[in-house]
Amino acid sequence: MTAPTLPSPKSEVFGGGVPKGRRGWGLDRRATFWFIYLPPLFWLIAFLVMPVLLMAAFSFRPDMRGDLFQIRTPTFSQYASVAATGSYWRLLGISTLMALGIGITAVLMAYPLAYFLAFRAGTRAGFYLILLLIPFWTSYLLRVMAWKILLGTEGVINSFLIYIGLIQEPLTALLYNRTAVILTLIYVWIPFAALPILAALQRIDLILFEAAADLGARPYHQFMRITLPLSAPGILAAFFMVFIPTVGEYVTLLLVGGSRGFLYGNIIQDFFTKAANWPLGSALSMIMLAATLILVLLATRIIDWRQLFE
């Protein structure tokens, strides 16, 4: 990070000559700068940059022995052992593919919702949007648990089927595997994914549709040539908003996945808790962090994120 220089005023008038009879402590913009600048700078360096650097340093340690502060000769042994262990790569692949699939599915399912809210919901669009978001604002753990109640061996669906006599033994296929994790995550993310798409759709000038219709474009062509391209930034943003939390996901699996649904995030969690092999866990985390950052950087080349937050 480059050292900050003194701020220069944006306009002549702004930071220029200080008028007489001023009030307060008499601090000008330059002096005030440090009071506003230092707290966030300290915070971000202490609790974001430092921990990540520390994790990077840790990933080059040979083992857990010795004081945590102690400088050890850096070694690539952790990365080597990651590289040599096929199951890690397999899990990284599964996690990435799963996040990819969940991201795409959630976007596909969220798009018609956003389209409905933007163009067809009329005056009640605001209300419909809030209705859609209320589940998103309720406890994540609880929504997952609710699915567990629905799908578990003593859950609602099984009890109901036994109650009406359709089955004698509870169905176990509904829970404790990756399918359950995937279903749960898609369910959880749909309302969230609709938001950036909606923002992009609302930005489209309706005159474009009139012009297209005047020129004889059918609704299908209007959609393909106007709506879809103009909502592309929203689609990509929605995808990443789902993809990034999902790729590091380890919680949902603890709740509905059981041991058969192990994911990359879970091995990281394991190495930092039960297995207590922090250097290896750090190496795995660094790999995941690098992979995510590279993907996002690629995406920022394609779309301008700032459009979405205007």
């Binding site: 001023r22 966030p40 994540y140």
Partner: protein
Amino acid sequence: MNAWRGSFMLRSYYFSLIVLLYLPIALLFLFSVNSSASLSFPIKQLTFDWYQKLFAADAVLRSARNSLMVALGSSLAATALGAMVSILMLRYKFRGQNVLVALAVVPLIVPYVVLGVALLLLFSVLHIERSLWTVGIAHTVVALPYTLLIIASRLAGFDASLEEAAMDLGADYPTTLRRVVLPLIFPAMVSAWLTAFTVSFDEFALALFLAGTQPTFPVYLFSQLRFANRLPIMIALAVLLMIGTLTLVFIAERFRRRET
């Protein structure tokens, strides 16, 4: 005709998703007033026992209080920091400005499990005992992007000439910030604060690594999930918390409306 049918299908899709989204939540309400401890059909009898038992369950209430304190502290800190970065971003020009803003937004794209273990490492190396403070610090980091985006989009709507006018009239810059800028961005700060609050209150992935011996509500809830007979009490509390969160969200919405 065709357009009408398209509209109808979109509407049906919307409402079937709504049903799917609300069904499990409705179930939670149902089981919080069901006399049977097992979460299965048929429903036995309507009761408010679980709510009564809840108020005798110290550990449960303590975890809710912990969550409340963490959410309160971290949301206030995240709002203050978000306002500072907003002002730095829009009212100053300095070297490294883009780096600072990027750092503030980057937690959005770091998987929580990675940030969680990185902070766990930091606190271990510094011999800082894990507590509500460490959870609060983590929550402040992840809430900052939200508060920054909310406050900055509001501040961007105001011309700097208002501040120039105040300074021309003799106010120093801190006074200008306090008397001119702060009132202008106040509605955004309130809605940023509420957003940060709800982000923190519901957060589990970070808290599990950093909570230590004082669990927040999601962490406690998680530790209790294997004890089936405790579940209805937890659900009862969760229903109450859900109502609380919804109230907060509606207040936030109000403020956002007033803003525009």
